[in-house]
């Protein structure tokens, strides 16, 4: 039997629940693997896992927010043959990655600032916060399984990969980015004519009564579909909610924001570009307001923006 360990980092619990809910498929994996650690599912101590010499497959969920998590992620990864980043936090930093441009102290101060009462004393060994990271900032995983949380489709693909590894003993073409290598627009149930989309200006989500058949972009609503990998089969779009980009960019190493800006550039007010000219278009684009929360809601930690900022600080090699 091969050894499988599932490690929670800084998580919301969504990935845990999603993985635990795949049902029978998980039983197929258990024909090849023994779960040596997974706090949600089995009662094993971390010390038991420490005693294991080699882990065949390690699934890491969530980001890294404390020194202890960082060290644990490194230590366990170094003795794991196949490393899997499960969920968007693990792969791209996820929503908590929106704090990537602030120091842990700046983040914590926001909470402390509202307090009515302060107690002084010892921290009783409370883990020390570190600048927030994705798991992919700590090690280079072999398999990347994005999604907030990963969909049934991504989890099925992951389990297939694990079974294949059990049979072949190796992983080809690392890293493997799960999901389908296409944008969400490709098979969108709203059938957008992707070459003919016209975005009639920029509207915010509360400004429009959403049409449940029409392409969001054609309603002026920013849908991250064009810049997002199809990991989900449109589960949000089907509930009449625009894609917010939790699947991350189309390819590993891509940049959601750059790709979305380019998409908007080719569809926004294409009919009236000549009369609006640059100032008119700029005014319209300004309506987007929160660029980071819109374009990089899940991927700021891995974005070009973050890298540029670190370069400026001299902190990135």
């Amino acid at each position: 039997m091969l050894k499988l360990a599932v490690i929670p980092g800084a998580i919301c619990g969504g990935c845990d629940v999603a993985l635990a809910s795949v049902g029978e498929k998980l039983l197929d994996v258990l024909k090849y693997y023994e779960i040596v650690y997974w706090p949600i599912a089995i009662d094993r101590k971390l010390s038991d896992l420490e005693a294991v010499e080699e882990i065949d497959a390690l699934i890491y969920m969530g980001g890294v927010s404390t020194r202890e998590e960082y060290e644990l992620a490194r230590k366990l990864s170094s003795k794991s043959r196949v490393k899997v980043a499960l969920g968007t936090c693990s792969v791209y930093g996820g929503i908590p990655g929106l704090n990537s441009l602030s120091s842990p102290l700046e983040v914590y101060k926001v909470n402390m600032g509202r307090s009515d009462h302060w107690i002084q004393g010892d921290s009783l060994g409370l883990p020390q916060l570190v600048p927030y990271m994705a798991y992919t900032d700590v090690v280079e995983p072999d398999i990347l399984a994005p999604g907030c949380p990963p969909s049934g489709k991504v989890l099925d693909q992951l389990l297939e990969q694990l079974i294949e590894y059990a049979a072949k003993g190796k992983i080809d073409h690392k890293p493997i980015l799960l999901g389908d290598p296409e944008s969400l627009c490709n098979k969108c149930p709203r059938n957008p004519k992707t070459t003919k989309i016209k975005m009639p200006g920029i509207k915010r989500l509360h400004e429009v009564e959403l049409d449940d058949k029409k392409c969001f972009l054609e309603q002026g609503i920013l849908c991250m579909g064009p810049a997002t990998r199809n990991i989900c089969d449109h589960s949000c779009i089907k509930t009449n909610y625009p894609c917010t980009g939790c699947g991350g960019p189309l390819d590993w190493g891509g940049d959601s924001g750059v790709s979305m800006i380019s998409s908007i550039g080719s569809v926004l007010l294409v009919d009236s570009e000549k009369s609006l000219l640059e100032p008119g278009l700029t005014r319209e684009i300004d309506k987007l307001r929160d660029y980071i929360g819109t374009f990089y809601r899940y991927t700021l930690r891995k974005s070009m923006l973050y890298k540029l900022r670190e370069l400026k600080k001299g902190g990135l090699k």
Binding site: S21, G63, I119, L126
Partner: protein, 487 residues
């Protein structure tokens, strides 16, 4: 500044097990228990600068277990900010989803954690696998409710966790009669299975006298303030007045305007936890004291309500009160039964909503309203009162966010209960070198009775057994900081 002293843990924490840790601090004068939540993701910071209409989807990521509670309460807060009263139809959609959230979470806890914990009392292993060996049919029924709930959720909301459907003034999607007819069928199956769990619990735990016997143990007692939503005195999960009662059951405050929640709840920052310690503001902050502790959650809701709607739920509520000897019920083990009352209540209320024609007709969203600077949403999440409080600028960009979750509110209560048993634990370690199995079992049962969700608590999390620290690291330290014992 404070008069409270805690002692340094010299042993560096290299490995942290599970969600949380219990540290017992000893000195010649006292023994105290501290329930520590170990990480921090900072949602209150990352909310700043975001478009407020998008906060419901962003803030739902606080918790993957009760993501809909956060999605809904965030929606309630932004309704206020946008000055929009949600349409009657959208309110029904939201309420229905909220009932599913509470039903799902409660059934999970009741069947897979609560039942083994109580019915296997006294045995070494008190988990679902042991219950499976003893009562396979029962566990099969419990697991079947899990898969049925997932089918129901997928049918109604599409994406089971972190889906989006709430917008200011309404929802993006309604249900049609065919969808609801299918959902009703599934709900019927869940209801039938629930009856089996219900009967088993009543038989083994209630009629056998086990619960009364266990409840005689003083450690599970909590003489604290209880806080919950009520609607005309009835138990309420979505929209009502905040009612606070004292440990003798007297109504101390009832606030219809939820935005004034901070008249009741203060927050203390402590250096050993990333979560704050909320307390009853008028009582002043008293660490480790029931005098300023607030309890929220199913038991608190039962205690603050005068009635529970739903024919069967109302009967069950009456039976619970009679057995426990009236309100307020101060013994935490009764929280399991309180959860059962609410399971029945949720099923009955869901059926009531599904029968209303307003669920199928009318507008899904109200797009008119005059925005204001500040909005507060208060909701009963499965584990109790959940608050999202936002402010924004003239362009509806968030300038601040404050989130208070039920597990955070219950943190003081958990510490208080754990402290009650920690003296004995230290005594056992001193005399026998290790704590007795029974003492550890009591501590586990205490934490389980609270059903803490630590992802919520510091918007944060390490989850264990579905938001349940089934195992936790326990350590005892001396005044000098020496680690005396580590579990």
């Amino acid at each position: 500044m404070s008069e409270y002293r805690l002692y340094k843990v010299l042993d560096p924490v290299t490995l942290v097990e599970g969600v949380a840790r219990v540290v017992i601090v000893t000195s010649d004068r006292e023994v105290r228990a501290v329930y520590q939540i170990m990480e921090f993701r900072g949602f209150e910071k990352l909310a700043i600068g975001r478009k407020m209409e998008e906060l419901p989807r962003i803030m739902s990521a606080i918790c993957g277990v009760c993501s809909w509670s956060h999605h809904l309460v965030s929606g309630k807060a932004v309704d206020v900010v946008f000055g929009r009263r949600p349409t009657p139809r959208s309110t029904l959609v939201r309420k229905l989803v909220n009932y599913i959230q509470v039903l799902d979470s409660h059934l999970l806890h009741f069947a897979l954690i609560g039942l083994p914990d109580v019915t296997l009392w006294g045995e070494t292993q008190r988990d679902i696998s042991k219950l499976l060996a003893k009562n396979p049919e029962l566990v099969e029924a419990a697991l079947k409710t899990r898969s049925l709930l997932k089918v129901l959720e997928k049918k109604l909301v599409g994406k089971i966790q972190h889906g989006g459907f709430v917008v200011p003034g309404g929802v993006t999607r309604g249900f049609n009669r065919d969808e609801i007819a299918e959902a009703e069928k599934i709900l019927g199956e869940i209801s039938d299975l629930t009856i089996k769990l219900h009967e088993f619990f009543k038989d083994r735990v209630v009629y056998s006298g086990l619960l009364r016997k266990l409840a005689e143990r003083g450690e599970f007692d909590l003489k604290a303030y209880n806080l919950g939503l009520v609607s005309g005195g009835d138990l309420e999960l979505y929209d009502g007045a905040l009612r606070l009662i004292d440990s003798r059951g007297r109504i101390v405050a009832e606030i219809a305007d939820n935005s004034k929640y901070s008249d009741l709840i203060g927050e203390a920052t402590v250096p050993w936890n990333y979560a704050t310690l909320p307390y009853y503001k008028q009582a002043g902050f008293k660490l480790f004291s029931e005098e300023s502790t607030i309890l929220v959650g199913p038991l608190a809701r039962i205690n603050v309500s005068s009635r529970v709607r739903g024919e069967k739920a109302s009967l069950e509520y009456g039976e619970l009160l009679e057995y426990a000897g009236g309100k307020p019920i101060s013994n935490l083990l009764y929280a399991h039964w309180a959860r059962l009352v609410e399971i029945i209540h949720c099923i009955e209320m869901m059926r009531e909503i599904m029968d209303k024609s307003e669920l199928y007709e009318g507008e899904l969203v109200n797009t008119k309203g005059s925005p204001v600077e500040k909005g507060v949403g208060v909701l009963e999440a499965p584990r109790g009162i959940l608050i999202h409080d936002y402010t924004g600028d003239g362009e509806l960009i968030a300038t601040s966010a404050r989130v208070i979750t039920p597990t955070t509110i219950n943190n003081m209560a958990i510490n208080t209960n754990l402290t009650k048993v920690s003296g004995r634990l230290v005594e056992e370690i001193r005399s026998k070198g290790e704590p007795s199995r029974e003492t550890i079992a009591i501590m586990e049962s205490m934490i389980r009775a609270y059903d803490p969700c630590n992802s919520c608590a510091t918007h944060v999390l390490r989850i264990n057994g579905h938001a349940q620290p089934v195992s936790f690291t326990l350590m005892v330290v001396s005044e000098e900081g020496e680690v005396l014992w580590r579990g």
